[in-house]
Structures are given as structure tokens and as C-alpha cells.
């Protein structure tokens, strides 16, 4: 399969501080890849770098075309749905408005309607909450809304930044089950960042392990999962 996203020698900086020291990885079309690692390893920064939300150097290619240096909104318009850390809810807008904002760049009315129905099917609770102010949703519902907003962009690639963060285990299971369906049914490739390595390896087919801004190992999820040394030294379970 062709690589959808290729990242090569990616460096990222927060002011003077360098957070990534040459990260390289590739993401297959249609697959789910996960970035694992401890706090501060550079997982979130990698996602932010792809969308040009931090100062970056190195090469990022989407479908073989370089995208680094493009403004965040232009990267998004190429079909990259970023579900950000902290969910990024438009708290003062209603749930319905949150979803409409997400399809603002699209002109294909019929397809938008279909995607709306798809969102309602995945997350029926959102349909019940359409008129509600989004800031009043529970954490789990806001996470569902964040994924739905990304879906309403009709993305080819979804970047998911710790979708399990701060949620009850049952809700997390539900959300991960839906993510698998989205990957299979809507044909959206995914790059998943997770603290919860066991959960992420369950869902993903490929894994990269980051440590202090570098890739220290990579491989099929099943390989990573079964390697006890990796598990103990990097994943902590």
C-alpha cells in the first residue's frame, strides 16, 4: 500500500526549546498507526507539527506532496482532521453549530447531509443534544463531538490526540469501538497518540515509540505488544 503520510527528519521547536529531534515515520493508506511514549516524548508535538501549529523543520508529505509551511487551515483543507488535545470544543456554540462550523469549507450539500447522518449513527447522543450549548456536554460527549467535527471535514487522515484522556473506561471502550468502525467504514486513515499503550496497540496496526523527541522503535502492533523489553522500558505496563 502507498504511504498516505510520510514524515522525515521532523524537528519542532517551542520558542528556543527543541521538542522533536528528527522524527521519521510513514503511515499507510487506510491504516491506523499509533505513536506511543511517556509524557514529554513528543507525541502531541508531532501531531501539532503535521498541522503546522508549532515551528517545524524537516519534511512532511501528504500523498507525496510536501505540506510543511502551509497554514494550519490549508493543511486541514487537504483532508486532515485533527482531534486536538483537550477536545477544542466551541463551548459557547450549540452542538449543531459545532458540527456546522466543521463543514464550513465544504460545498457538497448532499454529502454533508450524509456525513451528518453518519455522525448521528456513530454518536446518537449528539443528535439528542443538538440544541444544547456544547460547553455543557460531559467530557465523553465533548470527545465524541470533537471526533464528529473532524469527521464533518470529510477527512482522509485523522489525527487523534489522546481521545481517552480523562474519560471513564466504559466511555473509552465505546469511543475506540467507534474509531475502529470509522476507520473501516468511512475509510479514514488514523494517526493515534495515546498514553494508554495497551488500548492503542489493540486498535492500531502499526506503532512507533517515541522517547524525548526521537523514534526509538517501531513495528507492527502485535510485535511491539509481545516484546516484553519494550513494554517494560517504554510503555510501562
Amino acid at each position: 500500500m502507498a504511504a498516505l503520510l510520510e514524515v522525515d527528519g521532523l524537528k519542532a521547536y517551542y520558542g528556543q526549546t527543541q521538542a522533536l529531534h528528527g522524527v521519521s515515520f510513514a503511515l499507510e493508506q487506510g491504516g491506523i498507526t499509533t505513536l506511543l511514549g511517556a509524557n514529554g516524548a513528543g507525541k502531541t508535538t508531532t501531531l501539532r507539527a503535521i498541522c503546522n501549529m508549532v515551528h517545524t523543520e524537516g519534511s512532511i508529505r501528504l500523498d507525496g506532496k510536501p505540506i510543511n509551511g502551509r497554514a494550519t487551515e490549508e493543511v486541514v483543507r487537504l483532508g486532515v482532521g485533527h482531534v486536538p488535545e483537550g477536545r477544542g470544543t466551541f463551548t459557547d456554540l450549540s452542538v449543531d453549530e459545532n458540527l456546522r462550523v466543521a463543514s464550513y469549507t465544504r460545498r457538497d450539500k448532499a454529502a454533508i447531509e450524509r456525513d451528518r447522518d453518519m455522525v448521528y449513527e456513530y454518536f446518537p447522543i449528539l443528535k439528542e443534544r443538538l440544541a444544547q450549548q456544547a460547553g455543557t456536554l460531559s467530557g465523553g460527549e465533548q470527545q465524541m463531538l470533537a471526533i464528529s467535527r473532524a469527521l464533518m471535514l470529510a477527512p482522509r487522515l485523522m489525527l487523534l490526540d489522546e481521545p481517552s484522556f480523562g474519560l471513564a473506561p466504559l466511555i473509552v471502550q465505546e469511543i475506540f469501538r467507534i474509531m475502529r468502525r470509522i476507520n473501516a467504514e468511512a475509510k479514514v486513515s488514523m494517526l493515534l497518540v495515546e498514553q494508554n499503550a495497551a488500548l492503542a496497540l489493540e486498535l492500531a496496526d502499526h506503532a512507533y515509540v517515541l522517547e524525548t523527541g526521537r523514534v526509538v522503535m517501531s513495528g507492527k502492533s502485535s510485535t511491539v505488544k509481545s516484546d516484553e523489553a519494550i513494554r517494560k522500558s517504554y510503555l510501562g505496563y
Partner: protein, 301 residues
Amino acid sequence: MEQLIQQIASGLANGAIYACLALALVMIFVSTDHINFAQGELAMFSAYLVWQVLQWGVNFWIALPLVALASFLIGVGIERVILRPLHSAPILSVVVVFIGLLAIFHSLAGAIWGHTIKEFASPFPKVTFWGSGYIGPHQIGMIIVTVLLLLALFAFFRFTPLGLAMRAAAQNPVSARLAGIRVDWMLALGWGLAAAIGAVAGALVAPAVYLEPNMMASILLYGFAGALVGGISSPGGAVAGGFIVGVLENLIAYFGNLLEKVSGLYLIGNGEKLSVALIIVITVLTLKPSGLFGHVTVKRV
């Protein structure tokens, strides 16, 4: 009693203008966290433009939309050319730029049109109608045009995709970018709309205060007061605040005069109206900094 109703009615008419300016201030504030001190001078400049177009023999109701459009473009231009390069500059630099703009538009108007007071005919017919004793046709016209403008803006922000995108960009720029919204352009549009609203306010108030480069100085202060009373983060609140300040300044002067008549004690009167605006600003900032309708923003530092 008749005088009281008169005062309230003219307070509402003035309040309409304050509401427009307050709304223009809030529109820029919610998306950039900046208070545009040049808002009044921009409105004054637009009023001169309307006057100029009227001198060319164009009908007021054609001149006003034309100038509103021109002001919109001026507003967009200012944001893109002057403020965009300063988007990560410290707040004081931006304030200095605003004061610079204020001085530039002030002098520009004086240089082009002169500093002498010009008469600006009311665009509304001088008719008598029920209630004419309480309120003049121009004042009624001011209220009607303002209310229509506010309704149109409300509909724009509430019901159009672009209005929604502008609200989203103001509220959460990071998430808005992640939805593919060109946030920088939304800010420029906000500036344009604010300038256009100011143009309408300037052209409506010019017949009441006469046209001169200083015409907006005190009105902008009332606009600030209105925005603060209603809540500087709330567009609807700013509009309500504008009307409240308009009525309040007249009522306070009215009751001040009444007090003087009854007891001979002069406390406050027409001469202190502007002080009333400043007292309102200080009181609100002390007692309820978020305004009547604003919400408190908590920032983690």
C-alpha cells in the same frame, strides 16, 4: 412628566448611536482582545465621506450604503496592512498604533474638509406625527435605522455560515483553524464590519451634532460606557448597554435639574452629562468588570 418622556425618548435616540459604536468596539474586542481607540475617528471620517458624496448630489440612501462599503474596505485594509504584521506584538504597541490611527484620521479629515463646523441635513422628512411633541423625526429615524442594522447583523451572525465561522474564529481560533476556517480573514472581516457599523452611526449622528473632526470624541466615550455596561465580551449586551447609557445620562441630568428646582441644590445637570459616562465606566469596572450581560473569563496563568 412630558419632559421626562422627552428625555427618555431622546436618550433612546442617542443610545442607538452609542449602541452602534459599542457594538463596533465589541466586534473587534471579541476576536482580537483589542479596544480600537480609533473607532470614533473612523466613524467621523465615514460621516465626512457621506457628506462629500451628498455634496456631489447623490441621495443619502445611496450615499450611506456606498460609504458603508468603502468603510468596510478601509477597515479590512487597516487590519490586513497595519495590524496583521503586529499580531504577536505586545498589547502596548497595538494601543500606540490605535492612537496613531486616531490622530491620522483626525488630521486627515481636517486637512481634506477643514476644521470648521459643517451642517449635515437630516435625511428624514420633517413631518409631524403622533408623539411629535416628545421626539423629533430625525431621532425616530436614528432609532429605526439602528434597530434595522442591529437586526440585520444579528441575522447575519446567527443564520449564515460566514457569520457562524466568524463567531467560531472569535471564540476558539485554534479549533476554528482545525475546521479549515481562515481565521486571519475572519478578523479582517470583523474590522470591516465594525468600520461599516461606525459609518452608519457617524452619518446618523452628524445631523444632530454637526460635522467636525471632533464630533465623535465624546460619543466614543459613551460608546465605551455602553460596551462596558453591557459587557465588553457580549455583542447583545453592548447594544443594550448603549441604550441604557443613552437613557441614563438624560435621566440623571433631568433629575439633577429637578433637584435644583425643588431644593436649590445644584448637584448635577446637563453640563455634567459626559462625567456621567465616565462615572458609569468607573462604577462598572469596579463593581462588575464583566458588565451586566458579559461572562467572566477565567485565565490560567
